[in-house]
Structure formats: structure tokens, C-alpha cells
Symmetry: C2
Subunit: 342 residues, 2 copies
């Protein structure tokens, strides 16, 4: 039982390959009963067209390549989910690759993806090394860089400014009266966007003559467990901290659990701030500040951009779509803050 080909379908229906092809694609120039004969034959052989041949011949594919750094955080799966739903009904199919926050791996995956001649490619962030950028440009297809905004896009760009997010959060914490501010993060050399948030965050503090009073960087990728561990460690070493900025919400949630175990009141005693605005954050037993990033929306907008370009050849709107994540979870911590964080 081998895969059947169009030729076999055609033979069974008593027509030529070409007629069978036309019949199955629902093209015109085929008599009604011929079409039915062909369709019937295809069904009997449970014929599935060979997309390799199809795409090679027609010089186009329905593939959208998407490269993300990780799957262990809910953030990227959500973006992917947004892309797939946004692509639905367009006949396009998203295929994903994981780079593990590794630039070399990313280059290899992108090369591999491009070899499938996708109709468009989506990559995370704007910080690809020159070689990767060259490949992307040489591919001669729409390139959409997502999540980040701080940098020079190759082509399209959908994201938010992590620098701005870091600055906003710093201002928000200051506005909430916090001065003894600490930072807890993970593998910043890998997660460049978290690094951008931190750098901008610190910069605002410095402008106020302040610095981070304490500082922990994990050696592992971000997780709730890591956030909890590093926070417990920090709390054990000093007691004057009044707020902690985390690389993201997972870490911050872990921080909250550490505070609860240590009997520290959140947010009154220590204010915790993260990034993303996860479902989890909303449900926690204490208020945590966070910047709510529109993950699904970014995915869906990206998909819409792609279907637009495919349909019209050109895109109508701008090539860069910027989101501004609102800061939430500071309601009780400081009155009058809403205006500023808006």
C-alpha cells in the first residue's frame, strides 16, 4: 500500500494527469461528470496530493515559518497560538522552530526553514547577527520580527519596546514611593529582551541618583522555582528591600511564594514587579505589578499582516506595529499612579 499519485488517480478515472489535476483543484474547463469520476477515484485511493511536487512546480508554498526561542515559558506558545488562529482559513500553515535562545541555533533553524521556501517567516526579536539578517534578506519573502521594537527591523516589525517597559516600571515603582529596589533575573545574556528591560530600568534609577540595592542573576532559565529560590536567598541576606523587579512574571510569582514563606507582606512591605501579565499573575493571593504584554494579539496581528501581504502583494498599513503594555497590579500601592503609567 504505497501512497497513490495523481497519475494513478487519473488512470483510474480514465483521464490524463492534467485533467485530473484540474478536476481536483476545482478549476474550470472540466466536464461535470469527468470531475465527479476523478473525485471518486481520488477518494477510492485515499489520494493526498504531494505538496512537495505541488509547491516545487507552482513555485509557491502555504508555509509560514516561525522561530521562537523557547517553549518552556507560556509566552511563546501563546504567540504561536495567536499566529495559527490568525492564519486560519487563509490556507496558510504555520511551522515552528525553537532556538533555545541560541543565536547559532537560530541561524541554523532559519536556514532550514528557508529551505522549505516558506511564503513568509516570523522570527523573535531584532537582535539577529549579521549573517542571519543577510539570509533573511536573501530569502526575498516577507520577514516579520515580533515581540521586540528596540532595534532596526529587517522588514516588518510587531512588538513592544522593552526599554520603555523597563523605564515605565521603574517610574511606577518610584511613584509608589519605593527607593530600596532590587532586581532578580535569569540568564540575561540569552534573553536579550529581559536584558533590555533591566538596563532601561536601572537607567531610570540612576537618573534619580539611585541604584539597585540588591541583585541576583540565576544561572538557569526563568521559572517559578528559580524566582522563589533567588528571592529566598536575597531576603535572607538583607532586610531593607522595599521592592523587587523580576525578569518576568514566572520569576515574580516564585518571589511571591518566597515572601509568603518568609512572612513578608506583599505589596505593602515589599512590592514585586514582573513582566507579561500572565493568567497566573491575576490569580495570585497578593497583588503583583506587571506590564501586560499582548501575546496573542501580537500573534494575530502578525498573521493578519502576512495574509494581507499574500493577498494584495503589498501591505496597506505601516510596516511597524507597536504595542504599549499597560502596567497593572499597582492599584493599591500608589494612588494617582494610573495617569503616569498610562
Amino acid at each position: 500500500m504505497r501512497r497513490s499519485t495523481l497519475e494513478e488517480v487519473a488512470a483510474l478515472a480514465g483521464v490524463s494527469k492534467m485533467t485530473a489535476s484540474r478536476a481536483l483543484r476545482g478549476a474550470s474547463d472540466v466536464a461535470q461528470d469527468t470531475r465527479e469520476r476523478v473525485q471518486h477515484a481520488a477518494e477510492r485511493l485515499s489520494y493526498v496530493a504531494n505538496r512537495l511536487a505541488l509547491s516545487l512546480s507552482s513555485q509557491r508554498t502555504n508555509l509560514v515559518a516561525v522561530v521562537v526561542p523557547s517553549m518552556s515559558n507560556t509566552v511563546f506558545p501563546e504567540v504561536l497560538s495567536g499566529i495559527t488562529t490568525g492564519l486560519e482559513g487563509s490556507g496558510m500553515q504555520a511551522v515552528f522552530g525553537i532556538s533555545d535562545y541560541d543565536a547559532d541555533k537560530e541561524r541554523d533553524i532559519i536556514r532550514d526553514m528557508l529551505s522549505w521556501q516558506p511564503a513568509a517567516i516570523v522570527v523573535t526579536g531584532l537582535d539577529q547577527p549579521e549573517e542571519t539578517v543577510r539570509m533573511l534578506k536573501a530569502a526575498d519573502i516577507p520577514v516579520i520580527q515580533v515581540m521586540d521594537l528596540d532595534g532596526t527591523p529587517v522588514d516588518f516589525n510587531v512588538g513592544l519596546s522593552h526599554g520603555e517597559a523597563g523605564r515605565d516600571m521603574a517610574k511606577a515603582l518610584l511613584a509608589a514611593g519605593r527607593r530600596k529596589i532590587a532586581y532578580i533575573g535569569s540568564a540575561l545574556d540569552k534573553d536579550l529582551r529581559a536584558g533590555k528591560r533591566k538596563a532601561a530600568f536601572e537607567q531610570v534609577l540612576l537618573a534619580q541618583g539611585l541604584g539597585l540595592v540588591s541583585h541576583r542573576i540565576g544561572d538557569d532559565f526563568s521559572s517559578i522555582a528559580l524566582g522563589k529560590r533567588l528571592t529566598a536567598d536575597m531576603l535572607a541576606s538583607r532586610s531593607d528591600i522595599d521592592s523587587i523587579y523580576y525578569s518576568n512574571d514566572d520569576m515574580a510569582a516564585g518571589g511571591l511564594f518566597a515572601c509568603m514563606e518568609a512572612g513578608i507582606a506583599v505589596p505593602s512591605q515589599i512590592l514585586l514587579a514582573g513582566f507579561n501579565g500572565l493568567d497566573l499573575t491575576d490569580c495570585l493571593p497578593a497583588l503583583i505589578a506587571t506590564s501586560r504584554s499582548p501575546r496573542r494579539a501580537m500573534g494575530e496581528i502578525t498573521a493578519k499582516l502576512i495574509t494581507d501581504v499574500m493577498a494584495n502583494g503589498r501591505v496597506s498599513g505601516p510596516k511597524t506595529i507597536a504595542f504599549k503594555p499597560p502596567i497593572i497590579g499597582l492599584e493599591g500601592a500608589a494612588a494617582g499612579l494610573a495617569k503616569k503609567s498610562e
Copy 2:
């Protein structure tokens, strides 16, 4: 600036297509300096081979198709992550599709995936309708059904018995002295595996002459927020419950947060039980019982199975690989339970 072809590379290197092909693939029968000339030419044109042509010609692909129901839960991304890392270095590339727990969508995605002539296909669960199974069989490639074990596999099967997991948890709760047991779940008609756990769970209770004292099924997919909401609702309606079994850990975590808000002690007053053994569960401020499912391991084993079959043509071991998730988080709740849950 169009995509360059092998022919152009060959022309630039002053050799034939065939020689260029051999040189780039690192095959023998190519002189050292010729190889270098070709490689140099390929670099200058930033040549990327066309996998469509490659695969069509060689009649094989490096694609492993993977279809999962969702990305909004961390579970499936973890499995995917496991598959990709397991495939690393094998030259295989995983491509993912999301079915949204919809059998028709799943069929369409599988059909689409198969049209790319993948080397193997991984699908979630064993409950595909007949038509889908026919397609899978007709594809004539290794089919691996993952996550579940309760049913008849098409070919390979890597997973765990959700019936057993449900039964084990029921026994564990009973052994912990709980009798007023409730259930909270979400969209069971879609998530068949959660349904299996619940059915088996209830069956054990019934065998003891017990039934669920309360019962909530959400109309949305599982999430922390949904678990919290349904639990709060349940707690408001009755006060005699001593344990709640949730469809999974997300829901259970939400349940814990609801209990904390209601001032209910967990696990002493109400014991909460979930399924999966997420990172999150380990960090929560109270002990939650759960069955730790080996998501990454299942993914990696699946990948290993595939690379094995590809390498040897035949697989050495059995066609079904069963995992048994241990129950954790009951340490304090009942002494002497460890033996039973082992």
C-alpha cells in the same frame, strides 16, 4: 535579488550541477579544491538548497509532523520541546500543528501535514475517528500516538494510562481519609484524557459506595482563573467538602488560591488534587497532590523512537511505551500512603 539555485552556484564555481550537489553534501568523489570552490560560490550567493526539490527528488524528508490539541497549557509545549531536543542532531525537523481539541480540525491538519510527506507523524491521544485513522494508516509512515495509553494504537504508542491515574488518585484520597470528595473540571467533552481520569476516579468512589459530593464543569478551557472561579463558587455552596479532584494542576492551583482567599486550610481542611506535576505546583504555598506526568520524557522517548526507526528501519524495543506517573504532594496528608501510590 532572487533565490539562487544550485545551477547558479555550479556555474559560478565552473562545474556541473551534479558536482556542485556532491560538493555541498560533503560526498566523496569530489576533489578538495573543487569542493572549496563550490562552497565558496555557495557562500557568495548565500545559497540555500531548496528542500522541496531535494525531498521530491530523493523521495524522503526530514520532517516529523506533530499534532497537539492546544498550546495554552504548558503541557503540550513541553512535549514539543522534548521532541525537538530529542530530534536534535538527527537531521530531523519537527513541525507542529494545533487542533484546538477539535476532531475535524485535527483530521484536516493531519491531512495537510501528510501532504508534506513527513518521515513520521506524532498525534495526541488514541481517540481519532475512523477516517483519520485510515489516513494515518494510508500514509505508510511511522505513526506515534502520545500522552494516552487507553485505547488501540495505530502503530506506536507512548504515554500513560489516564484511567489508572484517575483510579490511583481516588485510592490515594481515600487512603488519606477523605470521604467528601468533589470534582472540578473544564470542557471534558473536548479534553478526552481529563474525561478518562474523571470517569475512572468516580468509578473507584462508586466501588466504595461513595459518590462525588459536588461537581463543577467549566464552559471554558482549563486555566488557573477558571479553577479559582469554580472553586470559589463551590466553596460558597457547601462547607462539608474535604477534598477536590481537579482536571489538572492549573485548575488545582486556581483552587488553592480560592481556598486561601476563603481562609480554608490546605491540605488539612480540604485536600486538593490535580494532574501533571507542573513546576508551578512545587512552588505553591500549600501542598497539592498531583500525578507527575513525564511530559518532556514522553517527547524525548518519542523522538528516540523515530530516530531509531529511521536509522534501523525497524525498532528494537516494544511498540508501546508506558509511563506510570507517581502521585506526589500527599506526604503530610497520610502516612503509609507512599507504598500504595507507588
